[in-house]
């Protein structure tokens, strides 16, 4: 089982390294453990996350790709669909059976034909268009709805932090 997962992860690794999608990179943290990856996602253009380079970790189960991996941002991102501890709540990461929020349709769910690249691309579009119908971070969703300026300010501070820029005074 793990052998197949390993083979599949190796194929994806090669694909992501030789033909990296725009603004996304990912690789296993340690060559000895292919089930723990780190990745970097560039915030989508024309949004408050633009040009931010957000680091995240992806943990794969032993029965990958039957079960979906788990993804967690390590930069303290404030977003309606990301839990305060960084876990990403997005339909593609959920198997068809479980539905923590009850709002996801099963055609967006995890299936073995999905891939790391597809997950990461979904996360990019999630950053661009938060889904405040099924929030993982309620206060972020509330701020996104009611006080967009403040939300954008928080996002901008994070972007600056990920780019090694000092926090702006405002």
């Amino acid at each position: 089982m793990a052998g197949y997962a390993l083979k599949r992860l190796m194929t994806e690794y090669k694909e992501l390294t030789t033909r990296p999608p725009e603004g996304i990179i990912a690789a296993p943290i340690d060559e000895d453990n292919f089930f723990e990856w780190e990745c970097l996602i560039t915030g989508p253009e024309e949004t408050c996350f633009a040009n931010g380079v957000f680091p995240a970790r992806i943990t794969f189960p032993q029965d990958y790709p039957l079960s979906p991996p788990k993804m967690r941002f390590t930069c303290g991102i404030f977003h309606p669909n990301i839990y305060a501890d960084g876990r990403v709540c997005i339909s593609i990461l959920h198997a068809p059976g479980d539905d923590p929020t009850g709002y996801e349709s099963s055609n967006e769910r995890w299936s073995p034909v999905q891939s790391i690249e597809k997950i990461l691309l979904s996360v990019v579009s999630m950053l661009a268009e938060p889904n405040d119908e099924s929030p993982a971070n309620v206060s972020a969703a509330k701020m996104w709805r009611e006080d967009r300026t403040q939300f954008e300010k928080i996002a901008d501070q994070l972007v600056r932090k990920t780019l090694c820029l000092p926090a702006s005074e405002a």
Binding site: M10, Y13, K14, T17, T18, P20, G23, I25, A26, A27, P28, E31, L40, T42, A50, N51, G52, V53, V159, R160, T162, L163, C164, L165, P166
Partner: protein
């Protein structure tokens, strides 16, 4: 007049490049050999220093007991000073008609050197106890109570004491005497219209080439080096006396004397006054204190254990040193495993920057090197987005 103006214009234009800091020594030992030698010599120097402190005390007593104008005192002091490592050389002749001597200031013992050659009156410009003042042969002219007091006091004193001239250091601060003179204070030129310029040079034999005085140093540390090193030569040269012309203003006369003295020393007259110099000293002091503080603050910089700590550290350093590529910083951290060490490498220009920094290059087929490709792309991604963000922000 015209030629004088041309001359002063020339000096002031050449002064454009001279910074106030250049007029002083900043370190006692400037080259590596002197530094090494000083370390080897230190124990001997300390013994010599102790012996000389006792000898110095006797010299001091002799100086106090003998009458100031006595010829015996002159010779006795000159001898004893040679034993103390202070060798005084004299060139040129003292002109008795000039009642004011004005000298450049290069060490704490300048007045002693001149006093040995020609007993003179030393106006005290500091507020020191009268006992100490008497011991060193200073006279209180009320310099602390303002310039008019000083000038009047000096005039009265010269009228009373007809034998001895008044010694003044119109620079007011000790300089290296190697680059330029500090702008002269005009007070001593107001006291008398006839002055005799005196140029003072000081040197130490190689490899004891320790700076006689550094900016912001205390008088006792200067004195320590005088005693600890084998010897120091102070050469005093009396220049022909100068007289103020009738059509000359006080400032012009001062400037003329300063330029004569500077020409003799083969240096220029700077546009900086005493206040600029004390500002520079203050600045230097705060800079040093700040440097000391940052060093103590950065001391507990722990050894970085894993790649993640090094990544975070690289990003922290990048924040303070944005011109360096993250890849270069991270590579150096891999070697030093220490934030402080890498920051020092960076400051001293020891950071290795490869031409490949900032370029992705071709992806090799060997999967073992893909991790390196990821690292490279990671830093490149942060650098390029950083660039874009700043352009967008501007």
């Amino acid at each position: 007049m015209a030629s004088l103006e041309a001359a002063s214009a020339a000096t002031s234009s050449s002064n454009e490049e001279v910074r106030i800091e250049d007029l002083f020594h900043h370190k006692r030992n400037e080259d590596v050999i002197t530094k090494l030698f000083t370390a080897v010599y230190a124990p001997f120097g300390f013994i010599i220093f102790l012996i000389r402190v006792f000898l110095g005390f006797h010299t001091f007593l002799v100086a106090c007991l003998l009458r100031k104008s006595a010829a015996l005192r002159m010779h006795a002091l000159r001898m004893m000073c040679s034993i103390l490592g202070i060798v005084v050389e004299k060139t040129g002749e003292r002109d008795e008609t000039a009642r004011v001597l004005c000298a450049n200031h290069v060490s704490v013992l300048d007045h002693l050197a001149i006093d040995i050659l020609t007993p003179c009156l030393l106006p005290s410009v500091w507020d020191i106890p009268s006992v100490i003042r008497w011991c060193f042969g200073y006279v209180d002219l009320g310099a602390t109570r303002g310039r008019d007091h000083l000038v009047n006091g000096a005039k009265q004193l010269l009228a009373k004491e007809s034998a001895m001239p008044l010694l003044a250091f119109p620079e007011g601060i000790i300089t290296s005497g190697e680059k330029a003179l500090i702008k002269f204070n005009t007070w001593c030129f107001e006291v008398s219209s006839v002055v005799q310029p005196v140029s003072v040079r000081v040197w130490r034999p190689y490899p004891w080439k320790v700076a006689v005085s550094v900016l912001g140093a205390t008088w006792w540390s200067d004195l320590f080096y005088f005693f600890a090193l084998p010897f120091t030569v102070i050469s005093v040269e009396y220049l022909p006396k100068m007289e103020k012309k009738d059509n000359e203003s006080l400032e012009e006369f001062t400037q003329r004397v300063a330029e004569t003295l500077a020409a003799n020393l083969k240096i220029s007259v700077s546009k900086f006054g005493i206040s600029d110099a004390s500002e520079a000293a203050k600045r230097l002091k705060t800079d040093r204190e700040r440097a000391k503080r940052t060093v103590t603050k950065e001391k507990p910089s722990p050894r970085l254990q894993d790649g993640r700590q090094m990544d975070e550290c690289a990003m922290r350093i990048k924040q303070s040193f944005p011109t360096f590529h993250l890849s270069a910083i991270r590579r150096d951290l891999e070697k030093t495993r220490n934030q402080t060490a890498t920051v020092n490498n960076l400051k001293t220009g020891k950071l290795v920057v490869l031409p490949s920094d900032g370029q992705s290059g071709k992806v090799p087929l060997d999967s073992a090197s893909w991790r390196g490709v990821f690292e490279n792309r990671k830093w490149q991604m942060i650098e390029s987005n950083r660039q874009k963000y700043m352009e967008r922000d501007a």
